[in-house]
Symmetry: C2
Subunit: 645 residues, 2 copies
């Protein structure tokens, strides 16, 4: 046995799936002293989650890699409903698509979780030296609540052990028809087939941490250590999941589709590399009650079931990328946090994968707690903002589980095995899809009133709500005329933002209002200065972005006060802080209707405070610097307060 070493870290993250990596992203971007471990030997390469919703793609845009998703992923354009007609012949009942995202930057995409992990890992690498320590498991966890009110203390003690090859081998039992090799993983994933080990197998290390973010999956070890009940139910229904390159003449195999039959309903999701995912009801194994014997299910059993359900169309495959089985369960953890320990992702919510939403919610969990812990760990923000994590995310977890409770039963075999009524089935499915869409696509989150969300200002921006994400819009850069989505403009760099909707600055009175607001920002009393040390740049903690409504050609960058276009001794003025809401005739998405979309007066504008995750925190007019101050006082420590930590 190697000697036990002890070390300290500000933030420990357990689990490097989508939620753990999203949290780690913030540690990397904000320069927080952090560690991230995962008990698996490697990242995920195949299978697992694969549905990406509009809101998640927007988040990726702010993280700098949405172009990789669009390049590799498959856009899911339509949803097709198939069922037997009155003569028992399989027919397409309906082909529908939602129009609610027509003016949004992105729509749903199918792409394997392994690729998403790749992109986040690359983003972390590009901005830090943080590396996932793989093949490392936590073995014990102690929490000393008496230390939790002292920022400098380390209330968390975890014993980490580097697993042996044998232990690692036992962890990877998931299937597929081919073994992993450099010939069948993405070129940029090849190196990760055999990641370097930080420690010798068997090495034990005691790590003391100020904060712990645990994203260790549905069977969360951390949740069990903390004795947090995971309540809900598991039904007896067994499902298969199949990622194959199908050989089929079913016409909608490259569209999202449900196929109803006497055996239950099949779900079809198109994917990258000619793959298609099939969710297969396995009625044969349904009869047994309680936990089922996974080994009784074979790939051929699933092949035959799909063949039965797609008749009279042919179906077969030779390439199987991945397959697994699961039992439907819906559970939510009774608590998401304990002191300075935060659980995220599958560790706090379980549901069936058929809603195509799990990875999104998990990733957004990690994203949510990540920036909060990062800012508190750095001493920039009050610890009280951490209390917003559970209420903000629990509600979404509940909506997720509720969605699944309504959605999954529609895929079950009808009682008595009678053929389904095609139209009724379609109506039932469509009704659920329509009702969950705003939440599923990230347009509605219902974050409640808190230090981070002041429910005000609705009159000034009729279509924007504090507690919701800013509605994406395309704007035109004052400096260079380039068009960009706001998701790109508000990069996820850890800063809060003051979004100055400057209105029509050609009008003398409005120009004066903007100049006055600029003077406030540059003054020692401004929120930019009060919460930053003198030595750092004015915009280090809070960034300022302006979108005006005048034609870009009619105004100039230097008409705007300098606080709106920060100056740097080495790099001059920043050119990507002032934008116009102007129609651009060679980019049809930039339609000059941003103010209208947001419900903001084109002449008078408004001020919006944005959190680092692009959620709206506060709305006010240009004169309400007191309201703005109050908002940020609830979040940031002054340098004096920081010194007292």
């Amino acid at each position: 046995m190697a000697p036990v070493t002890e070390s300290h870290t500000d933030v420990l993250i357990i689990g490097a799936g989508p939620s753990g990596l999203a949290a780690a992203y913030w540690m990397a971007r904000c320069g927080v002293n952090a560690r991230i471990i995962d008990k698996r030997a490697t990242k995920v390469f195949r299978g697992h989650a694969d549905g990406l919703r509009a809101g998640t793609l927007e988040l990726f845009d702010s993280m700098g890699f949405q172009h990789r998703v669009l390049h590799e992923g498959v856009e899911i354009t339509e949803f097709c409903f198939w069922a037997p007609d009155e003569n028992g012949n399989l027919k397409r009942t309906k082909q529908v698509r939602s129009e609610s995202l027509d003016s949004a930057p992105y729509r749903m995409h199918g792409l394997s979780q392994g690729r998403i992990e790749r992109y986040i890992l690359d983003a972390i690498k590009d901005s830090s030296n943080l590396v996932v320590e793989r093949g490392v498991a936590a073995e014990s966890l102690e929490y000393d609540a008496s230390l939790e009110n002292n920022h400098e203390e380390y209330p968390i003690t975890a014993k980490l052990r580097t697993l042996t090859e044998e232990e690692l081998g036992a962890a990877s039992t998931y299937g597929g028809s081919q073994s992993l090799s450099r010939d069948n993983v993405a070129p940029d994933d090849v190196e990760d087939l055999t990641p370097g080990r930080k420690h010798e197998p068997g090495t034990v290390e005691v790590v003391k941490a100020k904060y712990l973010i645990s994203c260790d999956g549905g069977r969360s070890w951390t949740r069990k250590q903390l004795d947090i009940p995971f309540t809900g139910s598991t039904t007896e229904h067994i499902w298969g999941v199949l990622d194959v390159v199908p050989i089929t003449n079913f016409p909608d195999v490259r569209r999202a589709a449900t196929v109803s039959s006497e055996f239950g309903t099949l779900l079809v999701i198109p994917r990258e590399r000619q793959l298609v995912r099939f969710y297969v009801p396995l009625t044969e194994v349904d009869a047994s009650s309680g936990r089922f014997d996974r080994s009784s299910i074979t790939l051929d059993m699933m092949r035959e079931k799909v063949q039965q359900m797609l008749k009279p169309f042919q179906f077969d495959f030779k390439v199987c990328d991945w397959w697994t089985t699961y039992q439907i369960g819906q559970r939510i953890a009774q608590n998401f946090t304990k002191g300075r320990i935060y659980l995220a992702g599958d560790a706090v919510h379980n549901h069936s994968p058929k809603v195509g939403l799990g990875m999104n919610i998990s990733l957004q969990d990690g994203f949510n707690i990540g920036w909060k812990v990062a800012l508190v760990a750095k001493g920039v923000a009050h610890a009280s903002i951490l209390d917003t994590y559970e209420p903000e995310r629990r509600r979404l977890a509940e909506m997720l589980v509720d969605f699944d409770r309504r959605w999954s039963p529609l895929f079950l075999k009808q009682q008595g095995g009678s053929p389904p009524d095609a139209h009724a089935k379609f109506e039932a499915m469509k009704e659920i899809l329509d009702s969950v869409e705003p939440f599923a696509e990230g347009l509605l989150s219902h974050y409640g009133d808190s230090p981070l969300v002041h429910k005000n200002g609705q009159k000034l921006a009729k279509n924007l709500s504090p507690g919701e994400k800013l509605i994406s819009a395309k704007v035109r850069s004052q400096a260079d005329g380039i068009t960009r989505w706001t998701t790109w403009v508000f990069q996820s760099d850890g800063r809060f933002r003051i979004l100055l909707l400057a209105g029509d600055v050609r009008a003398e009175e409005q120009k004066h209002r903007v100049l006055t607001f600029g003077e406030y920002l540059a003054s020692p009393d401004s929120v930019l200065r009060r919460f930053s040390r003198k030595a750092v740049k004015l915009h280090a903690t809070i960034d300022v972005v302006t979108i005006h409504s005048a034609p870009v050609e009619d105004v100039q960058l230097f008409d705007f006060p300098e606080a709106l276009r920060p100056f740097d001794d080495d790099n001059g003025w920043e050119y990507d802080k002032i934008w116009g809401d102007e129609k651009c005739h060679w980019d049809l998405q930039c339609d000059g209707r941003v103010y209208e979309k947001w419900g903001v007066d084109r002449l008078k504008g408004a001020v919006v405070a944005l959190r680092p995750d692009q959620y709206i925190g506060w709305i006010g007019d240009l004169e309400d610097v007191e309201g703005l101050s109050k908002y940020f006082e609830g979040i940031f420590r002054t340098p004096k307060q920081r010194a007292l930590l």
Copy 2:
């Protein structure tokens, strides 16, 4: 001295700049046995060329990495003309942009050559084991013309030497205010700071090659070995090039701009990473005739000159990424080829960099000769297609040099130093820009009649011309409803393509025509079968893509003959071969007007033969299988002909 080894390769490429890499791309994609050497120790990281035109971006789309250019590069949206007004105050005379590219996928972008090299290197790595051998110079070249008619022979003998560290050091004298390090190059370029050496310094190797593509720059060693005259002129005018992060209040520093003054005209081009490129007229050193002493020019001299020219605006910089000086010259090589040796890029045309076109033409040179040599080296195509390289590319080189001869003088100091007439200057510049635009953006190439271009069929596709690139359009996939630019659909994989514009297949008669064409394709007499060995897939040499004009919902994939949607035993049917010209209400660029754009009858359609580089080779109607056969007979060898090689 190490012993001299001898080896054989089908294709040797000298020079790994944009043109050499574009040629190497084809060797990688087509699986050709090839070598590529470069005498420099590393790839380019900074400076050099930086203008990317629409046509080049389309080419990148077909190579699979245009998304990286769009992500990192800077779109150049407008061109601004500045000059002193009647009172001598610097004013913006005009701000213009061309609308000719409004319905095209891309517009001009600014991005350093080093990043383009990165993307092509990655594309090569993703599809082959071909690696650039750096620090290797050719030292002698012999050509045995007596062998050139025998495909199996190696008429080229080159002696290659791995350079010593001293020799390498001498080659890198270009400037910048910071030395290169892992902190200031792109993360994915870090590994290339110290590329591995294949051989020990001093190692000499004799390489025998069937074909040589030389892309060794303006002072081409190969051109000199072959005694090819490089005719044209070098003027006495000296220019500086400056890549800096400017500290300036000049409002159009992030737009393309010309600034006229008594000292000459400054050219301003916005770039990635807050960089801006300045082309600076250095009148001080103009006086001396003949070649100038580069060491007499300093960075501060250039800084002061820009300061003078931008007055009354401030200008300074602290970060200089790269700078150099050059002397204007326009030259064209008397021959582009000698036997099986092909010169491409700067080796055959020299001009000033101010036209923002050099990298594009060079890259397209390499792209043009690359696929031709690859197909001939593999024995697939007749050697006669290689004769099309020089006539196709010489005309573009001449247009390039002619553009520069008209454009560059406008940047010179006026005779007598009198202030320029702002309006006259604008008109002169605008006239030149407008006249060269179709050629510069890749919309017009004037490739002449040849085995690769049959000048026919104009009546069937009024806006398409054999010898020009297919005009890009956005189409909707029959199988999945996804929209794509044709540049993506016609991937650069080395195959020719039959583009079947199937017309409105809802009409019975038209459907019959399409079925008949499909039967032809599947028959033993078809061009698909005649030029492929029996053992290989029907579409191995010639791909077939269909774009019909019926609504996507009204027809089904399996309505089309199987020759249009190839089947593979392992992977089933290909789903990206049948497309619709249909308006898509969530993608405004997909407007359902492709047939109209191309001038093709919506009911009756047409057939277009596309070369691997998306140039149109032949146009005919669905019944003209004889014309189609004749076209491909001039290009491909039958398996029997191959056996006789």
